[in-house]
């Protein structure tokens, strides 16, 4: 019994239903149920984090042990991980809180994580161009529409268009606020219904693959 899916399914059902009911009942103790569940979730996630780190470290230590392909880079990863944890501990001891500006920990954050993150992010400038080049081919009616609206909006956003005719930026705004908005609304309504569907299927135990 305990090994089966019975208990987990019952737990999903109970937590799901209580949270839905609590939405309509402000009175204590229901009123704060959603907030409490979220806090509990973050605590569970905090512990699971250790499992994640364990998974990753094990993967890389194994790579190093077995001298698999690119094993040297796994050392780099472990080094980076240990380095920031050690710096974090030292900063905590020295400043009382590692998250204060000026601590070594934040220095590493500012000068290593931030540039790396923003450079990864900026790769999009290139990828968006190559995706546009490749995908925007007038293969059929739909693709042609996609292509034409994209070009109009792209053109309407830069100053050159305003010099040709001030109406181009206005038309661009119209595309964004009318047809674009309509499609987005339709999709969002569908998503809301779909989300309700997924949730009900799981709460009612019809969909159980996540537990499988």
């Amino acid at each position: 019994m305990i090994k089966g899916k019975g208990i987990p399914l019952a737990i999903s059902f109970l937590t799901g239903t209580i949270i839905i009911i609590a939405f309509f009942i402000p009175h204590a103790p229901f009123g704060s149920f959603e907030e409490i569940s979220l806090r509990w979730y973050s605590i569970i996630a905090g512990f699971t984090m250790l499992l994640g780190v364990d998974s990753l470290l094990r993967l890389h230590t194994n790579k190093i042990k077995r001298k698999e392909n690119h094993w040297a880079y796994s050392i780099v990863l472990l080094f980076g991980f240990l380095l920031i944890v050690i710096v974090g501990i030292i900063s905590t001891i020295r400043y009382g809180n590692a998250f204060l500006t000026g601590s070594g920990f934040m220095y590493m954050y500012d000068n290593m994580i931030i540039p790396l993150q923003s450079t990864m992010f900026s790769l999009l400038a290139f990828f968006i161009a190559s995706a546009a080049y490749r995908a925007f081919r007038a293969r059929n009616f739909d693709a042609t529409l996609l292509l034409i609206t994209a070009i109009i909006v792209m053109f309407g956003r830069v100053p050159i268009s305003e010099m040709i005719s001030p109406k181009i930026p206005i038309f661009t705004e119209w595309i964004m606020s009318v047809p674009q908005m309509a499609a987005k609304r339709g999709i969002i309504i569908g998503i809301a219904l779909g989300a309700i569907g997924v949730s009900l299927r799981i709460i009612l135990g019809i969909e159980r693959s996540y537990l499988s």
């Binding site: 905090g46 699971t48 996609l146």
Partner: protein
């Protein structure tokens, strides 16, 4: 301005360049900075979790406020570790069930709010061509998402209109995002040419 003498700027600049080298192809420089980013960011998130969760949400309530309700999620969290023991892994389904149940429960009310907002937004107060087009667009897009009818006949024609709207919407959204993405690259170039090399002020 001249080339930077700060070691930190040099580190940041070299890391930036090695990420860009990925655009040519995968190479040792990219591999190095990828692993650095992954390693450091895990360390960073672990520290944040320790600080914001273990200390603030478990240790403090338990030790200082004597809030023993915290023991429940504590046990749920510890049950996750049952995965590390062969034959006891099924216990980890309990916290997973709790978390998924919570997510599903919360999504229903918030989906309602979304639904009401979108439906209300589509009801026009003033009659312009734009509002009529929005209505047609919303209806036809919605009908495109009908799953239990075959898209033939009238329904087929309406869904064609729906797809048309979706495509226009996607094209517009794509075109509108390019500027923001180019800005990101401009930001990095300003760092490389300005802060690092000192070519531009």
């Amino acid at each position: 301005m001249a080339i930077s003498t700060s070691i930190w700027i040099w580190i940041a600049a070299l890391l930036t360049l090695s990420i860009y080298s990925f655009l040519y192809k995968d190479n040792p420089f990219y591999k190095f900075s990828e692993k650095i980013l992954v390693g450091i960011s895990i360390g960073y998130t672990v520290s944040i979790y320790f600080h914001n969760t273990i200390i603030a949400k478990v240790w403090n309530p338990l030790v200082h406020d004597h809030n023993f309700l915290v023991i429940v999620p504590l046990i749920l969290g510890l049950l996750m570790f049952s995965r590390l023991f062969k034959g006891k892994a099924y216990l980890s389904r309990i916290p997973i069930a709790f978390v998924v149940g919570t997510g599903c429960g919360m999504s229903i009310p918030s989906s309602f709010e979304n639904l009401f907002k979108q439906v209300q937004g589509t009801m026009p107060q003033v009659f312009t061509i734009g509002n009529i087009i929005i209505l047609i667009g919303v209806l036809s897009t919605l009908i495109y998402f009908f799953f239990s009818v075959e898209h033939k006949g009238i329904i087929g024609k309406v869904t064609r209109v729906g797809i048309t709207f979706i495509m226009i919407g996607f094209g517009a959204a794509f075109g509108a995002t390019i500027m923001a993405r180019i800005s990101l690259f401009i930001g990095r170039i300003q760092f490389l040419l300005g802060d690092w090399l000192g070519i531009i002020s």
